[in-house]
Subunit: 202 residues, 2 copies
Amino acid sequence: MGVRERRERQKEELRQEILDAAREMFFEEGYENVSMRKLAERIEYSPTTIYLHFKDKAELFNQLCDESFAKLALRLEKLQKRLSRDPLAFLREGLRAYIDFGLKHPHHYAVTFILAPTRGDDYQFQGSAGERAFSYMRGAVALCVAKGELQTADIDATAQAIWASIHGVTSLLITHKDFPFVPKNKLIEETIEMIVRGLQTR
Amino acid sequence: MGVRERRERQKEELRQEILDAAREMFFEEGYENVSMRKLAERIEYSPTTIYLHFKDKAELFNQLCDESFAKLALRLEKLQKRLSRDPLAFLREGLRAYIDFGLKHPHHYAVTFILAPTRGDDYQFQGSAGERAFSYMRGAVALCVAKGELQTADIDATAQAIWASIHGVTSLLITHKDFPFVPKNKLIEETIEMIVRGLQTR
DNA sequence: TATTATTCTTAACGCCGTTAAGTGAGAAAG
DNA sequence: CTTTCTCACTTAACGGCGTTAAGAATAATA
């Protein structure tokens, strides 16, 4: 009577097939340029089939975003363990990792942090893997303050200011490809150092 | 023989009527939610008529963006004159003005700095009013460095890092309306202070 | 073999930006 | 005064989109 099980397995397989194709296509062409019809053609099913596995295009994509951000969260977790003795280094490395991640997954980053909210989608930052990643950074700031390496009157305000700044670099580098930027790494380092120096105890 | 003149005047009037309606609608509903058809209905012409005045939707919107950014540039110019004696104050006030502008014209800001480049549009940052506004900031940084109030090895890198950071605050505040931010002004001040402290000579 | 689930497709709805072709009013030319 | 021409404007369509209602096909159960 393993029928049910096999069916579920097959369903899961197709679901994965959709996710895999979508991941590739979104990565190559971006959210806006991948239509449900094109995606369907790629997996050789009718467009309607996708809707048997995902509520709509947004949900499908959010799934992929969460996947990616979970990876970032994992990376930050490892960093934290490795650098738990030196919170300032953890903060610095964490910021680098965050920006790095954005540049490696530009479409995912764009949809979660740049595009998602501007559409009328029901995407919720709260509870997302994106939020989880952010909370690591807040933790890093708190640690630095506790150890007296950074000074601030308000940990949340500081953490958010930091986040805003690195989000700025990340998103500019992703979206403004034609801007005559200083070399990428220089801009990243400059920003990180500016942030750290701006908060360091004197 | 004022026929030609009258015709041109009328054409210009309709062009303005389109721009006015578009400005309102884009402001109220955002770029994606305003269709050429809706806009046409508002001005009581057929959709095709709009194309007699603007190449496409993107050009129409860029027109409006440039308008707004010209206003920002003007504001920065005035600031510069008023605070030419105190470049650090000019920088600070300029940053505030930039963020302020973004929050006052969220749709225009979003399209120029957040969305435009992610679409395949032929929008060029170079030569835009947006670039003009940015260059004021670069000037402010250069001035501060010249007067020995800020320290940096590379003015461009610094100016871009600053820009990235305030773009970050601005765009996060615009797009992530559901994020439990610290009060808006607090976040803005925190970021500006972090930036300035991070670059100040010690 | 007949019935029932389940999977998947066809066809459509109502949008979208954009364009080719045509209408109709008014100016210019005869 | 009539014809020609110009030019603002519209109608109708193309090919796309995300999504859904209704039905066909397939495979498991009775």
